[in-house]
């Protein structure tokens, strides 16, 4: 049964990467959120696969929580906020790095993370080999998105992708830290998203834009 298992790992990794690139290539606010939702569903599937391979039941709970919180609640909250914001333009018009170039750079980041994993002194097994580089790619792409995009909403999505990468990293490498801590992290994320949702509404009210480049009143001198 070893061979088909490995196949599932490869296919699911590819799926997760494709959904991540969905956020990189898209411009519209709602498009990001739907791409993020697909990513969360893929992540939940990947988590369930890890649970199946390792046979640890607690990871199934983590997979279910991922599905409930990241694939359903968080996109709902952010979609609601996006619809509530009264802005005429709800797309990223000119990011700091063009979309084409950012896809290219993201691809380089993925390749880079496969090399990076070779440098980390770890015991390799099929799960680690398949998902660890992937988790680092998510982390790096999330950071990259936060840096190159102007819109506040996209920074939140970037942050959530970073967090997904971290979650996958922890689950693949250590087969999940204890459940209580994972629930704590989930709660932190959920509260964080709600707070940033409130802030998004306030930013759009006060500044009439979600462009972070326009938030520059606080400076020295």
């Amino acid at each position: 049964m070893d061979f088909p298992q490995f196949d599932i790992l490869a296919v699911s990794s590819a799926l997760l990467l494709v959904t991540t690139f969905g956020v990189v290539v898209r411009q519209g606010f709602l498009d990001w959120l739907s791409a993020y939702r697909y990513q969360a569903i893929a992540l939940s599937a990947v988590t369930a696969i890890i649970a199946y391979v390792t046979g640890i039941w607690e990871i199934y709970i983590a997979a279910a929580l991922t599905l409930a919180i990241k694939a359903i609640i968080i996109p709902k909250v952010l979609t609601f906020v996006t619809q509530k914001i009264k802005l005429e333009v709800k797309i990223e018009e000119n990011p700091y790095v063009s979309l084409r170039l950012s896809v290219l750079i993201s691809a380089v980041l993925v390749a880079l993370s496969y090399f990076l994993v070779l440098e980390i002194p770890i015991k390799s097994d099929p799960v680690v080999a398949a998902y660890l580089p992937l988790s680092i790619s998510l982390f790096l792409i999330g950071l990259f998105i936060m840096v190159i995009r102007r819109m506040a909403l996209n920074q939140v999505v970037g942050l959530l992708i970073i967090e997904n990468g971290l979650f996958l990293f922890a689950t693949a490498l250590t087969h999940g830290t204890s459940l209580i801590i994972e629930i704590g992290i989930f709660v932190d994320i959920l509260v964080g998203v709600i707070i940033s949702a409130i802030l998004l509404v306030r930013i759009s009210h006060t500044f009439d834009t979600l462009d972070i480049g326009k938030l520059e009143s606080l400076k020295d001198s």
Binding site: I120, P121, I122, K123, F139, L143, M146, A152, Q155, L159, I162, E163, L166, F169, A170, L173, T174, G176, T177, S178, I180, I181, G184, I185, V187, D188, V191, G192, I195, S196, I198, L199, R202, I203, T206, F207, I212, L215, S217, L218, D220, S221
Partner: protein
């Protein structure tokens, strides 16, 4: 579980510590609930001050217990655990929490009278205040490094909510930057924590197979010798960047001046005096494990570099500063840098200096923030060029502001002089001449520019004619307490602190 409950109810001498640990955490939670139920301004002020006072009493009892017993823990598997380093952080949390709660009453009442905040804001403020206190108290007593991370992330969220209390443009911008930068920083810290955990469960140390234990700091320390050195190095770098961001160490400090200057003043005092220390505490925890695993050279060097950079950047920023609260915020970057340096220099005087400096800074900085809060409310501005002659318009506040300022720049006979002296002498003792020399140079720059700003604000003639008014007793009492402490600790250091430093030194061997 039943066993541990039974052992608590037995109430023997050894268990009073564990009861204290639990009740210490429960106090702000209960108080938060009471605030939510009561909702009347007068009542929730009383509840919050009372609970902060209760926290201070319990924390003091706990610290005495730690001084006697070296460490205190509760329940099986030690989910709650406190030792010398926890005590050093608990003291400022409880102390500043208490004075800050008193100051809140006066500060928020004035904002209320001015119509800047309404009843709903007041309830939200005190809920946030209690929640903030709870999350900060959880950091030093959580043994599990994962729980510690969750608690530190929670402090970010709660303090963002407190900054968002005002719907001003600046406050929104500050809250957004703070939320984004601190959360990304903490993502790095979680990465490092997971790597440490991985190193711990794969080290082959017996009995670490269960996940709860592998993440416990005490168990990580016990098996530190077996950790993979390369993993430890990698993990420590991530942790230092992550928690360093939250601690305001340069060059990851960019969020700090914004957040600290835009928060309500009592919250600024907590952010500066206490919250930064909580992240420094997290760094210290992993520094101890790293020191035990691979020797002190690696982490010491990193801490020294970050420390020197922080002091240097703070010096440049204070020199050019125009905003009073931002100047104080940069001064926090400076002092966090000094603490990081002190830990990096190591040796008994380095650690002793770090411990004293954490406490001294937590006394002097809130004093400065409280005074600046009164001043900015009185003058309706934070621009230092507009503030003149404080000593004439508000004699008591002006005098206390001056005392705090002299203490903060490290003038004798105030408390910070002692700890800075210890830190620098430990630097020379450990042959770090370049770092110590640079820091002395930066400290001179900070001294000169800080004093220039301070003297101009305190003396001279007010630009507009104003009556003498010190904004009421409740605004003055917290400052008097803190000012008295800066002077007392300048002359006399309690024996208990030295015992704590000795215990702390034990862990770093």
């Amino acid at each position: 579980m039943i066993e541990s409950l039974a052992s608590i109810s037995a109430g023997t001498e050894a268990n009073s510590g564990s009861i204290l640990l639990v009740s210490l955490l429960l106090t702000p939670i209960v108080s938060g609930f009471l605030v939510t139920i009561l909702r009347r301004k007068r009542a929730i002020e009383l509840v919050t001050v009372f609970s902060a006072c209760l926290v201070l009493v319990q924390a003091s009892a706990l610290i005495v217990e730690i001084i006697n017993e070296k460490s205190v823990s509760a329940f099986d598997g030690k989910p709650l655990y406190a030792d010398a380093f926890s005590a050093v952080i608990l003291l400022p949390i409880a102390g500043v929490g208490f004075v800050s709660s008193i100051y809140s009453v006066s500060y928020m009442s004035r904002q209320y009278d001015d119509g800047i905040v309404d009843d709903k804001h007041i309830v939200r403020y005190y809920q946030g205040f209690n929640a903030f206190l709870f999350t900060m108290l959880l950091v030093p007593v959580a043994n599990n490094t994962g729980v510690m991370w969750v608690a530190i992330e929670a402090t970010t969220l709660v303090s963002v909510l407190l900054i968002m209390l005002y719907v001003k443009e600046n406050a929104i911008e500050a809250a957004w930057k703070y939320l984004m930068v601190a959360t990304v920083g903490l993502a790095f810290a979680l990465f490092g924590t997971v790597l440490f955990y991985y190193a711990a469960i794969n080290s082959g140390a017996g009995g670490l197979s269960s996940s709860e234990q592998g993440m416990n700091w005490t168990d990580m320390l016990a098996g530190a010798k077996l950790l993979d050195p390369n993993l430890v190095k990698l993990a420590f770098i991530f942790l230092l960047v992550g928690y360093g961001t939250k601690a305001g160490l340069a060059p990851m400090h960019t969020w700090l001046p914004d957040a600290h200057s835009e928060a309500p003043t009592p919250v600024s005092a907590l952010l500066s005096g206490v919250l930064l220390n909580c992240s420094i505490y997290a760094i210290i925890r992993f520094h101890i494990i790293s020191t035990n695993a691979i020797g002190s050279a690696f982490s010491n060097q990193l801490l020294i570099i970050l420390g020197v950079v922080s002091v240097g950047i703070a010096a440049a920023s204070i020199y050019f500063q125009k905003d009073m609260k931002r100047m104080l915020a940069y001064s926090s970057v400076e002092h966090m840098g000094i603490i990081s340096l002190a830990i990096g220099f190591g040796g008994f005087y380095g650690i002793y200096g770090a411990i004293l400096h954490i406490i001294n800074h937590a006394i002097a900085k809130p004093l400065m923030f409280f005074a600046s809060g009164n001043i900015s409310q009185r003058y309706s501005t934070k621009a230092m060029s507009e503030i003149r002659g404080i000593i004439r318009t508000m004699p008591v506040t002006g005098a206390l502001f001056l005392i705090g300022g002299l203490a903060i720049v490290g003038m004798p006979p105030f408390n910070i002089f002692t700890s800075e002296f210890l830190v620098l002498s430990s630097g020379f003792a450990s042959n770090q001449f370049l770092a110590s020399g640079l820091v002395i140079l930066f400290l001179v720059v900070i001294f000169a520019s800080f004093m220039r700003h301070l003297v101009r604000m305190v003396f001279g003639n007010p630009k507009v004619e104003m009556k003498q008014d010190d904004m009421g007793k409740l605004a003055i009492i917290p400052m008097l307490i803190l000012a008295a402490m800066t002077i007392i600790l300048g002359f006399f250091i309690p024996q208990g602190l030295q015992t704590l430093a000795e215990d702390a030194m034990e862990m770093l061997k």
